[in-house]
Symmetry: C2
Subunit: 441 residues, 2 copies
């Protein structure tokens, strides 16, 4: 990763946009991610930016108030919005699978790289409009736990392909949380998970206070919860940590086994600069997770929000159709990763222009000759342009230089030369020798 | 173009979405368009989906009422929206150029392939969310008229690359309309253009009525306007048609010359199944056009809305900054074209899955062997997948068949075979011979 700090530019607060050379890099990233996802057999889909408010409502805590609803600018005041912008890609995919059920083959493996919107207060790493790159597999009745590992493996391969630097994955399993809740005599694990999800944001006292007032837990139970959140490490560490808590073995057994099997399995493919740990403090804010949950952060920027997250969900599609279609997926926060590395100067923007050859246009009345020559070069598969109006050569060379165009084709006394802008040398050229040279490059 | 009629599927009325095999085709189209645009040296940009309401307002007739504004779902009633979804890509680009002025090199040549939103009543060819593919060039002070021709040439090359069938381009120039207005003693050509833009939708009587009541034109002037709208054809036909109207020669001269030069220039590159005609009835609804205007339709579906449109604008960027930055551009209505050809069965969807090889997973406990083999095949650059749970071979072959996966790798008594799903034959294989075969394909 090169050091090349970029000033970020925002059209409107929370709505990032990039100059062409930065966009060129973002496009290269999207192409790399697509390559990785397709290499595992995932097909691309897109869903509308919009879902009905009914579809989006009540899938996650704290999200409703961030949803952007659509109203016609000219609509009468007080009309109830019917449509809203999606805040993630998981809920739209669940709706998509229900809708297209009879035309899909299961297991349905898809990737989706689209924008999502949240009406958050913009701050570092939090945007109102951002691009997510999601992979999910959804199957009929059951989804193999091998996919829990495949998701993690693909996320690691994808982030490695983007060369984002050292990353720490934290993995847990909601069933262990369910086991904790039932061990403590709580009927509803969701409320417990929501509170423990705040373990990084609350002090120990604040956490204890909430567990006491909201769930009526006694001091011993609260201590267990706090100790639970501190269990992390490899499969052995998770097993030993859970044993020490002396929870109901039947209640936590399945979740623990799934987590430990997964951790053992992915350890073999872990890159050197990655950490993949079990961490029971991870529960993810979305209520729809029912099994494994993942979260990843930059090791070098530990306070930066998570850059990758996901998990297993059993009942998301079934809220749209009467079928059991469980799934597991992971989401890469492209905009969040990209803007951070850009700001830190850890990535190098691409070129300002895709043009490979500028055909110089110097002779009065020769515009058509230059355009005809450009057309011949373009027919070879080369990106080529002509400045439409005759200008002095130095002005045209400056244009090529400013846009990072590598070659200029110019004519002197009837002889054509190709000028290499990287070193200023020029050599005689004709279409045939250029075609040969281009084919070899 | 194959005949393969598809049932269109809409998640919500006016918000199209596609199954994976149709999306695969849409992606191939986007890649082809990007290829054409980059071959002329145009760089990709994206802008946020959202602009401020102030930016979007008052750029075109009849658009304000179709703009979707954003409000938080939980916002208090009656709060004024600050942001709205863009209804085209031209206005956002003008704002983009003003914002990033000092970081861009001019002439700034960009392409943009993004969604846009209009709160229209959904009907054939009219969507609430759709993808447009725009090319524009914006320059300082003046934009060469050679770009008027380049836009048209690129649109023709792009539509030809998509193999959309016969297309008719209609080209006019707003300056001729200005000349008509001043010849008739009207101070404001915009109102005249807006009325004449409806020439296809109104009867001759209705048109005459509006010209009479709204612009106070007399019968002779009205007849001139109606005759004006009937002028069409090649450069000679336009010239002769305008001469017959006996308008103020000074007022119409510049626009006529620009149009005739353009028509002569593009005639040389016109494909056989395309018509490129001057047509003075074309004025485009957007008020910001000031020179050439383009519009294209399917010849085979003459009542279907325009599939491509654009023109030259002098003052769009200057509404965001105190500089003269005129531009010219053209927009390809991807969703409109794609959904029509799909509905008519004139395009063939792609594959349901990008997978090239399914590694069969048959032996109990052999899952890891199959995954390890898949990883080796994937490392060759092949898209490969494994069904995670052991299943009978016929079930796995059915999966490959249903998803259109061309090859299945299976093992019999320690010997590997590659089964060609297109003809059912299988042949002995090993990694080396597969790598060789794949590299040659």
């Amino acid at each position: 990763m090169a050091n090349n700090a970029q000033k970020l530019d925002f059209a409107m607060s929370g709505f990032p946009e990039f100059t062409p050379e930065v966009r060129a890099l973002e496009q290269a990233w999207l192409a790399k991610l697509a390559r990785v996802f397709e290499s595992y057999g995932y097909a691309n889909i897109e869903t509308p930016s919009v879902e009905t408010v009914a579809t989006l409502a009540s899938k996650g805590e704290d999200v409703d108030k961030e949803i952007y609803a659509l109203t016609r600018l000219a609509a009468e005041a007080g009309s109830t919005p019917k449509f809203a912008l999606h805040y993630d890609l998981t809920v739209p995919t669940a709706r998509y699978v229900a809708k297209h059920y009879s035309n899909l083959t299961f297991p349905f493996k898809r990737y989706q790289m689209q924008r999502a919107w949240r009406g958050e207060r913009p701050q570092e790493g939090r945007f109102r409009e951002f691009t997510q790159c999601d992979i999910d597999v959804i199957d009929s009745e059951t989804v193999s736990h091998a996919f829990d590992a495949e998701m993690l493996e693909m996320a690691v391969v994808a982030l490695t392909a983007l060369d984002v630097g050292p990353v720490k994955f934290q993995v847990s399993n909601r069933r262990i949380m369910d086991g904790l809740a039932s061990s403590l005599g709580l009927a509803d694990a969701t409320r417990l998970a929501r509170i423990l999800d705040k373990v990084d944001k609350l002090s120990g006292e604040q956490l204890a206070e909430r567990l006491s007032t909201e769930l009526a837990l006694d001091t011993r139970a609260i201590d267990t919860c706090i100790a639970f959140c501190k269990v992390y490490g490899n499969a052995d560490a998770i097993s030993n940590g859970l044993d020490a808590l002396k929870l109901d073995a039947d209640a936590i057994g399945e979740g623990r086994d799934q987590l430990c099997t997964l951790l053992d399995r992915v350890e073999a493919t872990r890159p050197e600069n990655y950490i993949i740990d079990g961490d029971l403090s991870i529960s993810r804010g979305f209520d729809y997770y029912t099994g494994v949950v993942y979260e990843a952060r930059f090791i070098d920027f530990p306070d930066y929000p998570s850059i990758c997250a996901g998990g297993r969900y059993e009942n998301l599609v079934s809220s749209f159709m009467r079928r059991k279609l469980p799934g597991v997926g992971i989401s890469i926060g492209l905009t969040r990763i990209f803007t951070k590395l850009l700001k830190e100067g850890l990535v190098t923007p691409g070129r300002k222009s895709p043009t490979q050859v500028l055909v110089a246009n110097e002779e009065e009345g020769a515009g058509d000759t230059a355009h005809a020559l450009a057309a011949q070069i373009r027919a070879l598969g080369v990106n080529v342009e002509v400045l439409p109006d005759v200008a002095r050569l130095d002005k045209q060379l400056k244009y090529a230089n400013d846009k990072g165009i590598p070659f200029v084709w110019l004519t002197r006394d009837g002889t054509a030369f190709l000028k290499d802008m990287s070193n200023g040398t020029q050599s005689e050229i004709d279409l045939d020798s250029f075609a040969k040279r281009f084919a070899e490059s």
